[in-house]
Symmetry: C2
Subunit: 382 residues, 2 copies
């Protein structure tokens, strides 16, 4: 079996699991600072250390890390938490048109709550123009949320430039870094980013874990009510095994692996584009996350391709169906100027730690054969 589907990096690393196991069993306690309660203090110290380690990875401070149940929760916290705490200033936020659902649908929900939302367009490669962002900011704007990289086409935004525009305008800036955290170095001391969403399941860490980076002094309304955990910003018993696993996964990410992933991806991408006619790359050729390739095979349906690949033991995803489970066309492909045919003819290949270069020739030859066969019977045949 060859796994290049959107779950490729959600397989847990054995070393992550090993790091978690002690916290399932011997060191299972709830974190506490209660006097004399040794196991609770071990839990508290473990939590502090994990927070410290994660902060160090992105060159932030401990008190800027809020552990969450994942990237969806972190995005909800960032958008609603900032915007609702800033309503006296205004009720306008800005997001890009091609955000993933945690940001896009949170923005839509906020519209129903009386917020005004600007959905910034992107160019044909998926990039937001910082000048367009500058023009979109009004006196009422309190928050801009633009993803670091795209979930489908892999395009990476220039968040330093976008953040500078926000800073000059006195507007807070959040970026959803779900697909770049662990893939690139972050220096929160330098980067003009006020809030950043990080995810665990995209880097071979446990599911159900993530974090929001929130720069000190950024106002945030409490997200979940209850206990006083996470600097009184996110209630709920801390999931210590999950947090330990998430941070271990983050520590295991490294440039060598990312280069390897990039090489495999480049080879697959280049060979498919070269050897199969009537194909096109979606997203920017250079400014993209190393793990992602997204290619349109014209005149073919993505769902038919995934089905045929599956019969050959190769798992991939269409660009469109990750969360929606519908046949609606991908808002990302449409956002970069594609039509329905292009959206439905796109395949997303995602690479992870467990792929190898040896797999590429088989994927290329299978794709050649499948695309040729499907084109023969395609009603879209030119």
């Amino acid at each position: 079996m060859i796994y290049l589907d959107n779950s490729a990096a959600t397989r847990l690393d054995e070393r992550v699991h090993e790091a978690m196991v002690p916290y399932f069993f011997e060191k299972y306690a709830v974190a506490t600072s209660e006097f004399g309660y040794s196991l609770g203090i071990v839990a508290r110290e473990t939590l502090d250390e994990a927070r410290n380690d994660l902060a160090a990875i992105i060159k932030g401070n401990d008190e800027e890390i809020i552990f969450t149940s994942g990237d969806t929760e972190a995005c909800n916290m960032a958008l609603k938490g900032v915007a609702y705490s800033q309503m006296k200033k205004g009720k306008h936020i800005i997001v890009s048109k091609i955000e993933d659902f945690p940001v896009l649908n949170t923005a839509k929900a906020m519209e129903r709550d009386g917020f005004k939302v600007t959905y910034l367009p992107v160019n044909g490669e998926g990039l937001v123009d910082p000048e367009e962002l500058r023009k979109a900011i009004t006196k009422e704007t309190t928050l801009v949320s633009i993803q670091h990289s795209n979930q489908e086409i892999g395009t990476m935004q220039d968040i330093a430039s976008l953040g500078r525009v926000c800073r000059e305008a006195g507007v807070l800036f959040h970026t959803d870094a779900t697909h770049t955290f662990g893939r690139f170095g972050f220096d929160m001391g330098q980067l003009p980013v006020d809030l950043m969403t990080m995810s665990s399941h995209t880097i071979h860490g446990p599911k159900g874990d993530g974090a929001l980076y929130k720069r000190k002094d950024v106002p945030l309304q409490k997200w979940m009510d209850g206990g006083y955990q996470e600097f009184n910003l996110r209630a709920g018993l801390e999931n210590i095994p999950g947090i330990v696993g998430f941070v271990k996964a983050a520590k295991l990410m490294n440039e060598e692996e990312n280069s390897m992933v990039r090489s495999m991806r480049d080879r697959l991408m280049d060979e498919l584009l070269k050897e199969i006619p009537d194909t096109m790359l979606n997203g920017h050729r250079q400014k993209r996350t190393p793990q992602n390739a997204n290619i349109t095979f014209h005149q073919v349906e993505g769902e038919s391709m995934t089905l045929h690949l599956d019969m050959k033991g190769i798992e991939v995803s269409t660009g469109s169906a990750c969360f929606s489970r519908s046949l609606e066309a991908s808002h990302v492909i449409m956002g970069i100027g594609g039509n329905h045919e292009r959206a439905h003819g796109s395949i997303r290949f995602t690479f992870g730690r467990y792929n190898s270069m040896d797999e590429i020739p088989e994927v290329v030859s299978s794709m050649k054969e499948i695309v040729a066969r499907l084109r023969e019977i395609s009603p879209l045949k030119r």
Copy 2:
């Protein structure tokens, strides 16, 4: 070491871990209904099966189970989700005075948002009077939330009677069953309860997991925005290993174990009350969860007791400090008519699967010794 602290039941069961492991590794995929994506379909079927199993345990229906990141999130969803979707009817909700923080502090947060909240008093044993509930309901009331059992003193409410009062008045009823789920049988087909919070970490399941039971047709505003998971009520990638572990833990709970836990608890409770003078039980003697004993040792500070017990290898919790990490007196002990001295002199003993009857004599003799010694030097000595 003897563990009777509030983490006693948060230690993962080995069998739960075994059930989770395949979903960390071979079957790690994201649930999907995408065509041809076999691993994603395995994940989808696993999720459906877990939902089905959990529904069967409480005699509910599959579509009435919403998996969450824990009890805190389930309580937030229930209170805010119902109340915000019913604002046209009114902005009044009712909770008990002794709710745990996920309900109590959510209600307080809603007050700041313009909701009127009635905090129902309880009697000396912690029970809400259904007649008082009836009187508190107004035309503006949309939701009543009263816990099934108390987090500190273990008292169990008569949720059938309370639920009937709500039903007669046409008001929705939520109960936080965090400390009773797995300890008692639930028949949601019979019980007049519209929403119920369940937790995983209280039954030797993984942390970071829980569920909200929501009766069909109960209106609920979407909690977290993003993807369309959990019947489009709770966005976020499903944590399949966690859900599998939670449901496995729920299946492992059984009456035999609960009886054993009750016997150990009864023995400890009876011997401490008999052998140590100037003590009192907090909560109802019979109407209480099997795993909980809460005793006040007059003239002694709870924190000193926990410290001395810890030095003897016995872990317990004070009644007051679970979530608050403050020296504020327990709102529960105050709610049942206690004063600060009683609140600070209370110890909560929590039993779990890994305790044994052999531990009781040691705990009793240690407590006798410690309480006697502390009383000698107590400024509160009578």
